[in-house]
Amino acid sequence: MQETITFFSGFGISDFWFLADAALKTLWISVLSISVGTVLGVIFGWMLHEGKWLAALTIGSILDIFRSVPLIIQLVLFYNFAPMIGLNLDPFGSGVVILTIYTAALVSNVARGGIEAVPTPMRKASRTLGMSYWQDLFYIVLPIGGRAVFPAWIGVVLGVMKDSALVSVLGYVELLKASQILITRTQEPFLILALAGAFYFALSYPISRYAAKFEQRWAQ
């Protein structure tokens, strides 16, 4: 042997940054999927509300599939399906696509609930003031319905952020995958899992606290 190579090594400070970087990736993939997914979801929700049974039959049932099949299966399926139709997506791309649709599927229900939470008389009132359909939707339905379903939406956000861990099955090095890699190398599962858990907690807990504060403010 010409040189000594270490295949394994202990947990070092650089590994902490490796984890932190991965946490950022988790955040990044979540932010991307959640923001696009929410916009799509709101549009779908609106279509479900306006389109009645026709929409329920078409986009409604398609979105329902994404809520009824495990996310991990969706990811594996899409990752293996995309190349067949000539889409050359890396794990990140596939993850974003599926997480986005998944978010949209969850948000569409929330959004429809939000629109329905605005009493019809309230909407009629805004129309009698001369507001157009879109003005009513934007100035009245969005803020009132949005507040009504804000907690549910936060639930979706937190859920998707945690579910982004599943993109690790495709080999995308986000927080959970990074901790697996480190466990492999350092053989210190306890320490590293605790750290990863702390990172997740630090991402998710403040959001739920912050959201609760908003709700309180709106409640009064």
């Binding site: 042997m1 295949f7 190349p83 067949m84 492999t184």
Partner: protein, 245 residues
Amino acid sequence: DTLDNVVDRGELRCGVVLDFPPIGYRDASNNPAGFDVDYCKDLAKALEVEAKIIPVTWSERLPIIATGRADVVFGATSDSLARARTVGFSIPYAIYFAQGVVNTDVEINSFEDMRGKRVAAALGTVPEQEWLKIAKEWGEEDLYQSYQSENEVFLAVSQGKADIGITTNTAVKPITGQFKTLKEGPRMPWTADYTSIVGKRMDVTWLNYLNLFVTHQVRSGRYDELWGKYVGDNVPELRIPGVMY
């Protein structure tokens, strides 16, 4: 074809299993390293393109080729006839033997001692399939555990979740050096594992090129050099006794 595509693209997309030290692993700064990784870089150099390393798990090695997400896979892939129905193989570029790593608290000295023991292997590997045949004969399929990666196998054995993990002879030394709770185990009775570079099945020109690459690595002494660097001195001869390639 792939050869033209790669040259055209200027990038070689190369699947490597990184759960397989010292053939494929991550170094202290979490970058890919190992025998396969260097081979991949050598191939890219020969093609005069950039190497893009795609980490894959054992079970992903073939799908990633079949679906066209990678051009080649270096991943200790045995050239079984069953697999050859799905993907194409080069001539063997490395030879392995299956060997066990055993928890120090467990007494397993020969293959026969494995009766009644909890056996672990990585999902989708040849050792898994070979062992399951034997386990079926012994009626011990329930004692088998399968893990996502070779490293989880080692971790499981060292934590005592399993008594013996089946891996490759090359990995045994570094692993037992690392884990105080692991020791060298017996060789498995099935035949040596001839492993090949994987490419697209229909793409014969590409496979030809890969064959040529393997012979050039040996002729130039690069094979001996890298094997010596990562594994040790007794470099296996890439030849099958009694067969003309």
